[in-house]
């Protein structure tokens, strides 16, 4: 793949602790994400999906293997890889505007220019009227909008999202899913989105990368054959979702039953 924006090659992460057996958080993971694609990483807890994302973000160093984003190897965190955290990670002492402006301020952007960018993302994320509120005064859904706006305002090449809607209620979650698709369409970022919900992955993704745990490992990559915009009530959507969910659960159950098998299962056809 020549136009791959994110290239993950044979990446493993092993946590070694004294007095305990090493934990294989992720083994030999290879993955390429084409520019502008929306890719979901799906897996049960403990499969290393968040670790993988943190490694792309540069917050965690792989034990072995290499990661490249936009052709450059990842060696630490950087503004070209924006990460949206599950628990929002808003600075409580900054207003909505202050939070969205954070990356721009760090970069030393001029006030006038910065204000224009902040205005744009306040509008895009639907936060007009709340610009001068502090995070403590916002609902969970709004906090996550601020976090997304803050990351997008920084104009990253890729947008990394770690179960961003895990902490909000079901209704807000569906709403935010639509919002992120809308923003993705406007901004055309490459998105790597971690989730444990097949429903979410089927609704959002161009491609779903499925992981299983112990050891964390990719076992299938599925291209979602659905046109956009998708509707959660469409028969086509539902039949894809239920089939994919079935396959996913069976594999997880089969793997759990056979125990700590290290055999590699070849990925499903693209």
């Amino acid at each position: 793949m020549t136009d791959a924006e994110i290239v993950i090659e044979k990446v493993s992460k092993v946590y070694k602790a004294e007095s305990r057996a090493p934990v294989f958080a992720l083994t030999e993971t290879t993955l390429a994400v084409a520019q502008g694609k929306f890719v979901c990483i799906l897996g049960p807890s403990g499969c290393g999906k968040s670790t993988l994302l943190a490694m792309v973000a540069g917050l965690v160093r792989p034990t072995s293997g290499s990661i490249q984003v936009g052709g450059a190897p990842v060696s630490g965190p950087g503004p070209e890889r924006g990460l949206v955290f599950q628990d929002y990670g808003l600075f409580p002492w900054l207003t909505v505007r202050g939070n969205i402006a954070f990356g721009l301020t760090c970069r030393g952007m001029r006030r006038k220019e910065r204000d224009a960018v902040v205005d744009k993302y306040v509008r895009l994320t639907g936060l007009t009227g709340f610009e001068n509120r502090y995070p403590a005064e916002l609902s969970g859904g709004m906090k996550q909008r601020v976090a997304i706006g803050r990351t997008l305002a920084n104009d990253p090449r890729v947008l990394l999202m770690d179960e961003p809607f895990g902490a909000v209620d079901a209704l807000t979650r569906e709403f935010l899913q639509d919002e992120i698709l809308r923003l993705w369409k406007v901004e055309r970022k490459t998105v790597l989105f971690v989730t444990h919900s097949m429903m979410e992955a089927a609704y959002l993704a161009d491609e779903i990368v499925m992981l299983r745990s112990r050891p964390g490992q990719v076992f299938a990559t599925v291209t979602v054959p659905l046109a956009r915009p998708r509707r959660r009530s469409d028969l086509e959507f539902l039949s894809f979702y239920s089939e994919a969910e079935e396959t996913f659960k069976m594999e997880i159950a089969r793997h759990a039953a056979t125990g700590d098998s290290r055999e590699a299962v070849s990925g499903a056809p693209h």
Binding site: G82, G89, C106, P135
Partner: protein, 265 residues
């Protein structure tokens, strides 16, 4: 449908507070005048007020208040100046923390009074020994709370800042220091309280000016009303200084809505 009625039958808060003070002062007056206790030991508020008025007119109250205030401010600012930078450094580096912590923990439980005789020996009977004692007392709470604030700043926020492209220096002053502010504010207010305790201790023992001196000196001549004036002045002074700090805190920590009132001092 049964109607849910929430009835507001509370007394207005401010009125309750004022009323409580009035009742307290009145009961004190009655108790002191009842002959139940000697007015020599417990002068009534009216007598204290008269004595206070007298001291105000002859200038001795102002002299003593300014002496005390000068000392407490000097010691408190000196402590802040020392404790905040040291607390930040110790909070940033685990090695420095590990080397400083045992020494701090060794010194911290020593009551400041125990140091007074030595302080007088080292710095003489003048201002220096008093300011030393006050600085020493105020140092610990400020240092420890600054250290804790820096050391336990949210690691997630530091990660967020680094993914947004903040440099190490930017992370330090835009995230670590900012998240340490509430803890630092607590330290500063505690420090002020400790400074007052040390002030009075120092003035009671060796002094020719100040509110502590006023209290002690009047007691020796059984002018208990004058002693009371000194005590009340200390209370008012402490209350006023704490109120100023709370004001500053409310302004600086506007994002935090649970800034506590004047519970310390």
């Amino acid at each position: 449908m049964p109607q849910l009625e929430i009835r507001e039958r509370r007394f207005p808060a401010r009125l309750t507070r004022i009323l409580a003070i009035v009742i307290f002062v009145l009961s004190w007056e009655i108790l002191a005048r009842s002959g139940f206790v000697s007015t020599l030991f417990l002068p009534p508020p009216s007598a204290v007020a008269r004595a206070g008025w007298h001291l105000l007119l002859n200038g001795s109250l102002f002299g003593n208040v300014s002496a005390s205030l000068g000392r407490v401010l000097a010691g408190f600012f000196l402590a802040t100046l020392l404790a905040i930078p040291l607390g930040i450094i110790a909070g940033m580096s685990t090695t420095i923390f590990n080397s400083i912590d045992p020494i701090i923990e060794l010194f911290r439980p020593i009551p400041v009074l125990a140091l007074l005789p030595l302080a007088i020996l080292w710095f003489g009977i003048g201002e220096a020994s008093k300011i030393f004692i006050i600085t020493y007392a105020a140092f610990f709470p400020i240092f420890i709370n600054t250290l804790a604030g820096v050391r336990y700043s949210d690691p997630i926020l530091i990660q967020v800042a680094s993914t947004l492209g903040a440099s190490r220096l930017q992370i330090f002053y835009r995230v670590v220091l900012m998240s340490a502010l509430p803890s630092l504010a607590v330290g500063i207010r505690l420090g002020l309280g400790f400074a007052f305790l040390a002030l009075v201790a120092a003035e009671l023992i060796a002094s020719t000016r100040g509110l502590g001196y006023l209290i002690m000196d009047a007691r020796l001549t059984f002018q208990t009303d004058v002693s009371m004036v000194g005590i009340v002045s200390l209370g008012v002074l402490g209350y006023a200084m704490n109120a100023i700090l709370v004001r500053i805190e409310r302004w600086a920590l506007a994002w935090k809505q649970d800034v506590q009132g004047a519970e310390i001092l």
